[in-house]
Subunit: 258 residues, 2 copies
DNA sequence: TTACCATAAATTGTCTGAGTTATATGAATT
DNA sequence: AATTCATATAACTCAGACAATTTATGGTAA
């Protein structure tokens, strides 16, 4: 009895942040252990009974957590074999949860560079599409986000959210459902950029004019200008993180572009 | 007793394809109903007891299925409210399962166009990156895939797999973990292209030389040529599907590029 | 020795029924 | 009108049993 209660209390304490259910917290904990490399691809997790015993939770809760991880490509479980960590190539790297678990701790330099690389590929094109397809509401959302960035300080929670919302509205305005589903990835990078900048490299320059330029181009239905302005914006954001940490001039593919 | 057995037998029959477990088949069935629009965003699924009763499965299996769907952003469940279908913007459109469920039936024209739009954005850049970073093994994998496309007929299962593997190897060679995780999306599109072509528009031209051009550029470490060749390849693939179905000349963002 | 087949063992998978917790709703209170 | 509180409802968690599946093992025949 008492042991049951204490276990429940402990789990509850963990769960209190973000109103996650028990299976959610277990999934998150295991997920972080996997993406951070504590459990490596090929490793076999403890059997259901052992694992749930150790975590002091029921098999039900543990199993549902494993289902979540499996749904995100992190593990695969088979009878008589167990639940094994999948090779990284099978992970759903752009899954919002996987991304947030990756960014739970200071992420790998290479991974961060890769994320910015993808952003530099997709976001400028998304901005160009937005210039052609944006609705008035989406344009308004961008404007509101810009105001939010202006009224709040950049490092504040509200400022960061406004920045995220600007990029999110841009992706929405692209009118492409698959591009929209990259929002979480962009958001994670934006969020991390702000946090990192605040910690290591505060206030290098005012980013609002750079955002403004993208907005103006989209408003003017000028895809070419929107593309250029957004590329510039993402490159500046990257400068605030990757290069300031490791000044290696990596080969890029932008040289292949006109 | 007998009802239990018949239910188990039925479930088993459904599960036999692809060695899915019961919770997996339920997740797939519900997932298809959602992405196909039979259940709409905002709809509340039947409660656990009702739903599991109807499907003749235990609440355990049903709940695990719901966990899978929730992990992919399709539904969200809360006490006292129920499990409701999430708005499409929250769906993980690039999740391999979600994609395969979308392509289970003939997909929406717009969605297919969107997928090709993303491919045209990402794959050429991936090819350019591959030209800079490819390892010998990855180059070898591309060559093997080309051979596979040559020896087998394009419409055959083996031919389709070879085509997919070519694109997959290209994304791997980009050296970007996030780009690699787009493999399933590309694969789905490639697979659908072949199937569609075979059904509606057989053998318009030999696609192997077009693939060869990309390969040669990557081998020669020429990112610019790789970019161009891959863009051409994807555009040809799109011609075999979207345009042949609905010849509406959609606005594109390529005009914004140099 | 090798190949094949039946059997056993280990692990996930499924089922049932009970009790718990969170939350929307509406009533009572200030 | 706003706030607090009770209640009903759904998901959530638990425990223990049994089933299904896959791998490993050992024995038998060629």
């Amino acid at each position: 009895m008492s042991s049951k209660k204490s276990a429940a209390a402990r789990a509850n304490a963990r769960a209190r942040r973000k109103s996650l259910r028990l299976h959610g917290t277990i999934a998150r904990d295991l997920g972080v252990l996997i993406v951070s490399g504590r459990y490596k691809p090929g490793d076999i997790l403890n059997g259901e009974i052992d694992a749930s015993d150790r975590l002091q939770v029921s098999r039900t809760a543990y199993r549902e957590a494993v289902r979540i991880l499996a749904a995100k490509g992190l593990v695969e479980s088979r009878p008589k074999v167990g639940t094994r960590v999948s090779p990284q190539a099978r992970w759903h790297m752009l899954d919002p949860d996987v991304l947030s678990w990756i960014f739970e701790f200071e992420p790998d330099d290479t991974l961060l560079a890769n994320l910015f690389e993808l952003r530099k590929i997709v976001e400028p094109e998304a901005a160009a599409l937005a210039a052609l397809r944006r609705s008035d509401e989406e344009l308004e959302a961008m404007e509101k986000a810009l105001e939010g960035m202006a009224t709040h300080t950049l490092a504040s929670e509200a400022g960061r959210l406004a920045d995220q919302e600007f990029h999110s509205a841009m992706l929405r305005a692209s009118g492409n459902a698959f591009i929209v589903s990259l929002t979480s990835g962009v958001g994670a990078a934006v969020s991390w950029t702000t946090i990192f900048k605040q910690r290591h490299n505060p206030l290098r320059r005012d980013p609002i004019p750079d955002h403004q330029k993208v907005y103006e181009a989209v408003k003017a239905s000028d895809p070419k200008a929107a593309h250029a302005a957004m590329l510039n914006l993402v490159e500046l954001a990257q400068l605030d993180t990757v290069n300031s940490r490791k000044p290696k001039p990596a080969k890029t593919a932008t040289s292949a572009r006109g």
